[in-house]
């Protein structure tokens, strides 16, 4: 079972990669790992609230990370939608911890 600290580290890793729009491929892979870890956490009743937040993040990430190559022109708008969803998930994780 992943720990909250591990999930928070993974949130930070997504943010770190997002600094460079050329790293879209890395971001996608890190987002997938984060969502998998959160899915593991959400099996526990006290973390059920993060499921909705993860679903939202999953949906948002689908468009910005496809195709997997970098796409600066679409990145700014895409990240502006993912970033608040990531903030929301981070807040939920921190609160649960």
């Amino acid at each position: 079972m992943p720990s909250i600290e591990q999930c928070l580290d993974q949130v930070a890793a997504v943010r770190e990669a997002a600094v460079d729009p050329n790293a879209a491929y890395v971001i996608r892979s890190r987002l997938e790992r984060l969502l998998l870890s959160c899915a593991g956490l959400s099996q526990i009743s006290e973390f059920k609230g993060i499921s909705t937040s993860c679903d939202k993040l999953y949906e948002l990430s689908a468009s910005v990370c496809r195709p997997s190559e970098s796409l600066d022109v679409r990145w700014d708008e895409g990240w502006s939608r993912i970033s608040p969803a990531l903030d929301e998930l981070e807040a939920l994780l921190s609160k649960s911890g």
Partner: protein
């Protein structure tokens, strides 16, 4: 400012290549339009039949401005569409066909290889904490497939197939048929993740370590081809 107008709808991906399976989506590129692709695909008998057979459309919509920006760096995605795609509603002076006709060579191959290497480093790091070996195998497999697609492209044998790039590049990298089989089996972890196949086997952490090391070696080989490609760039 985009210089092109109108909408082009193109089919690409597994149905354009002819290696689709019952779970394949119908990949379409909608260039320049906003929600107008439904009319175009409904007039194409093959696509209409595929939709009736239960296949879902997976549209990628881009404005002409976005497409021209992608064209400027020789987008590999656009090379993919150019190689295997076809216009759903063919017409003279199709603006996408005109754009693709002037598509330059891909300019981000080295950046992309660096991204694949970072992904391998992430896998190695993930093994230090709680992790899913099957998930990490899928991550390695996906990066390997994309690196092989890139390797095929830079060596002049473009192949955007699901698992065929492993075979296509094998002669260049002097890989044995057994190694190609192992790479295709490894890609089964990604296909399993997408619900397209059974799990090849239940991976252990050691399997992930072995696959990551092999991928790192193959990336070095492919990087040499990318370097040669970049050196030959006009």
């Amino acid at each position: 400012m985009a210089l092109r107008h109108g909408t082009s709808v193109w089919l690409y991906g597994s149905f354009a290549r002819g290696d689709a399976d019952e779970l394949s989506d119908i990949d379409i590129l909608v260039a320049g339009g906003d929600g107008e692709w439904r009319d175009a695909v409904s007039q194409d008998p093959q696509l209409a039949w595929l939709e009736l057979s239960g296949h879902a459309f997976s549209p990628m919509q881009f404005s002409w401005g976005e497409l021209e920006a992608m064209c400027a760096y020789g987008s590999l995605f656009l090379h993919h569409v150019k190689l295997e795609g076809r216009a759903v509603t063919p017409e003279e002076n199709d603006p996408l066909e005109q754009l693709l006709a002037g598509l330059p060579r891909y300019r981000r191959a080295t950046d992309e290889m660096q991204a694949f290497t970072v992904v391998l480093q992430d896998v190695a790091k993930s093994l230090r904490g709680d992790h899913s070996p099957n998930f990490e195998m899928a991550v390695v497999a996906t990066a390997l497939r994309h690196a092989f697609i890139l390797g095929c492209y830079v060596t002049g044998q473009p192949d955007f197939g699901r698992a065929s790039p492993f075979e296509t590049l094998s002669a260049t990298l002097r890989l044995s048929p057994e190694t190609v089989d192992e790479l295709q089996t490894l890609y089964g972890f990604r296909l399993h993740q997408q619900g397209r196949s059974d799990l090849p086997f239940d991976a252990t952490t050691q399997d992930v370590v072995t696959s990551t090391e092999r991928a790192a070696t193959l990336f070095q080989d492919i990087q040499r081809r990318v370097d040669a490609f970049d050196r030959a760039m006009p």
